[in-house]
Amino acid sequence: MKRYGPAPRAPWIFAVILLLLGLVLTAGGAQLLWLAGSPYYLVTGILMILAAGLLWRARRLGMWLYLLILGYTVIWSLWEVGLDGWSLASRLGLLVLLALFFAFPGVRRRLT
């Protein structure tokens, strides 16, 4: 029988937060792309859902995927708005805040 619950020691609260964020960004991002807007949100939303799934299974790859999202978000932000501090804060603030979660060694140790 397939197991749907979080893996033992998985950072499941974080995974749920990431999943919700991913779902919202995917739905809104699809609408924005439909309106000829930026594809960033749809792509990011889908990758966040994937990352959430991996973290649900306590897979370290989920962390790397999240950090990849953060990495290209930095590049995308600089490309969109240059060094405008307020615009960068809007794009990066929440993602950086969430990334701090992985700074705890305890979290990283739990991931395999």
């Binding site: 924005l32 807007g37 990011t44 809007s90 929440l94 993602l95």
Partner: protein, 645 residues
Amino acid sequence: MNRRHLAAWAGMAACLSATGSPAADSGSVDWPAYAGDERASHYSALTQITPANVAQLRLAWRYRIDWPANRSVALEVTPLKIGDLVYVCLPQNDVVALDADSGAVRWRYAAQLRPWSGSTVCRGLAYYRAPTATAECPARVLMTSADATLRAIDARTGAPCRSFGVAGTVDLLLGLGAVKTGFYTPTSPPAIVRGLAVVGSGVPDNGEVENPSGVVRAYDALTGKLVWAWDVDHPQWHGAPPPGANYSRNTPNAWSVMSADEGLGLVYVPTGNSNPDYYGAHRSAQSEKYSSSVVALDAQTGTVRWSFQTVHHDLWDYDVGAQPVLVDLPTAGGRVPALIQATKTGQVFVLDRRDGHPLTKVEERPVPQGSGRGDWTAPTQPFSTGMPQFTGPNLTEEDMWGITPVDALWCRIKYRSARYDGPMTPPSDHGWIYSTGFLGGIDWGSVAVDERQDIMIVNAFRMANRNYFASAAQFGNDPNVKLPFPFYHQEGSPYFAVYTAVFRSPLGVPCQRPPYGTLSAVDMKTHKLLWSHALGTSRNSGPLGWQLPLDLPMGSPNIGGSLLVGSGIAFIGATLDQYFRAIDVRTGAQLWQTQLPSAAFANPMTYLSQRSGRQYVLIAAGGNSLMAHNKGLFIMAYALPQHPR
């Protein structure tokens, strides 16, 4: 820190010498009109407070206005000062005379308004001294009231001037026909010119097309007798309407402050629009001609000498809120009597005030077309391209903002789904965004000008509006439904209602990136920006309506203007962050700030008390219900510390 200390030491020396010889101050020691004088430059030649000593300013006195904490209000008053008294009109239209040195109440005039509703704004008073000795009220204070009257009050005693109108009151409802309670509520002081008090009106935005007339009327400042009237649809009527007739309804109203040139015999009237704000197919030809304009009227007859339209066929609520500023400016052909007209679109027009022709380049430029359902769009609009613009750059998707990617995404979706094609994007059935929004640009705070240095100080608000039309079905098909904020009826149009609000995300955060407020200086010799900075911080704002005590330099929404003093300081409140600031006019550097008990959406003023020799700077701090809750209403007076004389 270091600079502050240095300034304090330098200031102390300067202060000692300054207070020793108050007579050294040139220019008027009084503040006898709303913006200093009828020319409205917001400038005072007083020099006791200087960039070197301003850091020592402290509260000299404050006057608390009695007003129920839960009742909506907008405190926009600029006090007057003549002789030893400071005159303030309160939101309930009571008038108090305060001691210029102590703030103690010398008299209070109780307005006892007729039943009224709606606006409770009194922007200020006018002062008039009779040219020859009169038995009663040789000097008087004039006020328009929220219950549609013009009143004259003895400046010395606070008693009504019995010989003015009927027992001190002129009824402004005469000649208007039927007026619903609260539909005619003047908010601005009369302009005084050639012995006349010229008054505009104040009518609700949107709502109905049967709004009262926007007629401008001049009354004898001594007797209250009607001398002339300017009704755009009846230019042949120079006074009261013929028996049985009324002034034309729903014409552009002049709700803001006028200015006047005594020498030229002209009064300059900033105008608004016919209702509703976002549809205009039904407007009369005369209303079209004079809406969103500055109109120069002959002070003796009320006939139009010239007019300049700042927005053609206004579909954005871009009524002219800024008081015209009359200064003499340098041109290639010498100094010329000029008029500076700032607008909500963030444009500043510079005109020759004798004939209205532009002194700096104004271009008619093609603008987005296509407002629907029988309405039309003006093919071009005037752009003041010879002057710096205070509109901010055009919005792009990348300008969409939020405190998280989620609300920024919401804003991007709204941006992409509504119509936005740059400045003057017309109303659209699919919703539309327009920038600047209906609060400006530059609203009634206007601009301040130092004619000695030819420098203009401009504070501008930069925030877009997001609008869409709503159908009756959304409100249960009840035509008389009381619409929730921010929906407004669009009677007289094919639309039932409009949603019109600052473009914000569901978190209450602006959908565009900061700054939201700027303060700039313009060299009026070269028409170039000298400097431009974000004005104000994020204090008292935040997501979900939180009022966070964080001073992040976001540039604050601002309403209300600045004061310039001869020593080279601009004083300004106006911001949501509740600070009152002193800025170095030369560099734009902040020299001093103090936290106010409420936000100050009002223009500051200054005067010198001849009794004490002290210069005071005053500002009304009371917030307003639209932008910031009032935390008490105060008149705050600041001065340098007193020294032994």
